[in-house]
Amino acid sequence: MVESKHSWKAWLYLAPAIVLLLVFTVWPIINTVRMAFLDDYSGLEEVGGTVFNFGVGNFIKVVQYQRFLDCLKTTSILCIATVPISTILALLIAVALNSIKVLQKFLQTVFFLPYVTNSIAIGMVFAAMFNIVGSFLGTENELVVTAGVINNVIEFFGGTHVNWINVGSTYAANIFVMVVYIVWNALPFKILILLGGLQSINKQYYDAAKVDGTSKGRILRKITVPLLSPMLAYVVITGFIGGFKEYTSIIGIFGETMGPADASGRLNTMVGFIYDALASNKQGRASAAALILFGIILVVTLINLQVSKKKVHY
């Protein structure tokens, strides 16, 4: 090769990237492991001269900490609820989009719109739609000014209003709102990927099925889903990874309190826990939690890959 003599040139070109990666990627990996295994490590105290013992104390403390378990619970519930719902909905929409010609491009654009948004900004819109101005506390002169457009729709169809996100709302109602918002937010990416996959499936499979008079449901189950399985595996895995890192969408709806005013922190997630620990200068605890999060993501991804190895047709 002409350039093999000039390998110094390659390193010169790579220098900026390597320097920045060493400082902001490689060192943090090493340092996070170090801090996680120093009991009760705190950057502030280290500067003050405190010496920390090596051990797994941070990990033990984190998993015994009720707040962490609550965060883990909320994160897991959100993940388990939103990934299947958004994947199935996205699959149905993608299949429907793929089967039409008129308006296909237009509808495709519409379904992509939630992607081009700021999850905090639109979270505020969802909060407005679910918010009750006034109170439903059952007192004498209570004044409900507006129950929010979602409750208006429920009442229009003869239901009773629900306290979704206000003071006194239940955990289940809060989670429901979050699931709706996260699914709405997750659909565009999944539809885009699945539609791309559908469009690359050879039409002859469908023609053959039609000749045989195969029913629509059977075509979906026996042809579309198997041939689409690499893309389905991809959106499920990225969905789980994103789900375990859920944080800003909750801030969008509930604000920094991460819950209704009377139950702040109730909807906190794993990522929220890490940032809370960091804000209170407990880097050891934050690092341990971050490594646990990484471990969970790794395990879930490996399980998904293992399952898809058996199910995915490449």
Binding site: V23, F24, T32, L113, V116, N131, V149, T238, P260, A290
Partner: protein, 297 residues
């Protein structure tokens, strides 16, 4: 010839099948469009609600039976949102951070991708694999240490802290390297024989050929600046260097209870608008970039 015959036969058969299933097909088509329309309306409703709410008076917004079109159109809500949220400064900050970080990031990505795609050096493959492995690690893990690093560097509450830590994206280098690899190596060798410098070759041949990828990277990077929230909240919370999302969240802290929603919705609309405008013009690049990346800014 034989192939042709099969195709013709196949088509004839298909036509028969098509007429047979036409009756059922019409009902199916109607259902398909009905389903897609309902879903599209659900997807669009929050945007519609944001816009009409932002144009209502507070009294109209609070009516127990909602109106679906504002009676009095209050454009003044937008002016109020702009001043209450101090959006001007925030827009400026976000544009500065977005432009500078995109520009620097592009330069670093291009020369790194070039080195990985075109140059030979010891340890290239190991280095590249190592870089790709870091992509698996959640960003929160880096943040804990980076927060300490930028604090001790004295970078807190500067533009630098919002730009420098995120300049290198392994993913963008990977994306561009794949793109560069598709360009025949013979072009590079020919240029070498002619005595063309690397930089000139990059500028004249590789960059034009990889332009769609570079545009995708630019868009992802700019939307990243627009949507970033967690990092600026940690390290640039003096109010002077805040970015748009933080400003929005801080100026309108309450989301539940008794809130002046028309003004808040106007602020949300103002913050969302630039992204939509970019999307309208660059739809193709955005959708292509996203389908390859899966990264939400």
């Amino acid at each position: 010839m034989a192939d042709n015959n099969i195709v013709v036969m196949h088509e004839r058969q298909m036509n028969k099948v098509k007429t047979a299933s036409k009756v059922g097909g019409v009902a199916g088509k109607v259902l398909t469009y009905l389903f897609l329309t309902i879903m599209a309306l659900i997807i669009l409703f929050p945007f519609y609600w944001m816009i009409i709410s932002s144009l209502k008076t507070l009294d109209e917004y609070r009516m127990s039976v909602p109106t679906f079109w504002p009676r009095v159109v209050m454009f003044s809500n937008y002016a109020e949102a702009f001043t209450v949220g101090k959006l001007g400064r925030l827009f400026l900050n976000t544009v500065i951070v977005g432009l500078v970080s995109t520009l620097l990031s592009l330069v670093i990505t291009v020369i790194s991708a070039f080195a990985f795609a075109r140059l030979e050096f010891k340890g290239k493959n190991i280095l590249f694999a190592g870089l790709l492995a870091t992509m698996m690690i959640p960003g929160e893990l880096f943040t804990i240490t980076n927060y300490g690093t930028v604090t001790s560097l004295g970078w807190k509450n500067t533009y630098t802290v919002l730009i420098v830590p995120f300049l290198v994206s392994v993913f963008y280098i990977y994306l561009l390297r794949q793109n560069f690899l598709q360009i025949p190596n013979e072009l590079y060798l020919a240029a070498k024989v002619d005595g063309t410098s690397d930089i000139k070759y990059l500028w004249k041949v590789m960059i034009p050929l990889a332009l769609p990828t570079l545009i995708s990277i630019t868009i992802l990077k700019m939307t990243g600046a627009w949507n970033s929230y967690i990092w600026p909240r940690l390290v640039a919370n003096d109010g002077v260097h805040s970015l748009i999302t933080n400003g929005l969240r801080n100026a309108f802290t309450e989301t539940t209870g008794d809130v002046n929603y028309p003004v808040q919705m106007a602020a949300v609309a103002l913050v969302s608008a630039p992204l939509f405008i970019v999307f309208i013009f660059l739809r193709k690049y955005i959708m292509k970039g996203v389908s390859r990346s899966g990264i939400k800014g």
